[in-house]
């Protein structure tokens, strides 16, 4: 016999993990901001990457700044995903997850994931465009079949929730 949802350990763990990820997301934003506008100037970047002044080195510095700006754009999208997931977890904890708002939450998550995938492709392309044998740039970004499957799955799940909510409404109005 399965345990009731309310007594499952998965929900408190999910809740705690999501809260930690929200904090980590803000920390990442702070780090990117510091890298972008704070201490490191062009000389610092050049020495960190062992670059000598050249057009290629300038391009690399520009590309890294562009990646940092795109990285900043990722922060609010991550925040949307995490906050909406937290809201969904809350409804599961309350014992009523099949509500119209959860379908809207999932749709918002799907759009955020889609935008994140597009940003990942752009960041990956920037990395490849400035990577040279002398100064290889390896960015963990680009097209990901798993990422796009997650986007598709989330859109489908949002639709399933929307339909499920309508069916439940109908059932509740049945005598």
């Amino acid at each position: 016999m399965s345990k009731p949802v309310s007594s499952s350990a998965a929900l408190p763990i999910a809740h705690a993990v999501l809260r930690i990820l929200v904090v980590l997301n803000w920390l990442m934003a702070a780090v990117i901001l510091v890298l972008l506008v704070g201490m490191p100037n062009e000389q610092w970047i050049m020495s960190a990457f062992k670059l000598t002044p050249s057009p290629d080195a300038d391009r690399l510095v520009m590309a890294l700044r562009a990646v940092a700006v795109l990285g900043l754009a990722v922060i609010p999208l991550n925040y949307i995903v995490l906050k909406k997931l937290l809201a969904i977890v809350e409804t599961v904890r309350a014992g009523d997850p099949f509500v119209a708002t959860n379908a809207q939450h999932l749709r918002a998550i799907a759009w955020a994931l889609l935008t994140l995938q597009l940003l990942s492709i752009v960041i990956g392309a920037i990395g490849r465009s400035v990577s040279t044998p002398a100064h290889p740039v390896h960015l963990d970004a680009g097209f990901s079949i798993n990422g796009w499957l997650a986007v598709l799955l989330t859109f489908l799940l949002a639709r399933v929730f929307a339909e499920g909510t309508l069916m439940r409404d109908d059932l509740e109005g049945t005598v």
């Binding site: 409404d169 109908d170 509740e172 109005g173 049945t174 005598v175």
Partner: protein, 78 residues
Amino acid sequence: MAIAVKLDDLLHDRRMTLTELADRVGMTLANLSILKTGKARAIRFSTLDAICAALSCQPGDILQFEAEGLAKKKRKAS
């Protein structure tokens, strides 16, 4: 909804209260009240069967199709 529920008229004709009908068909008074006031979205065949048996009537005696305009006018009047 273009389907009107005429449970009120039937109960009046049979000199029966909603509570008595609820007892006979084994439904809660709240659910029967939802049906009577036309707030139900759907009705199960088993419910229809039980009500027809209790009131000795046909489904058509309980439900009636009304054109949308007529139904709106009736709602405004009541």
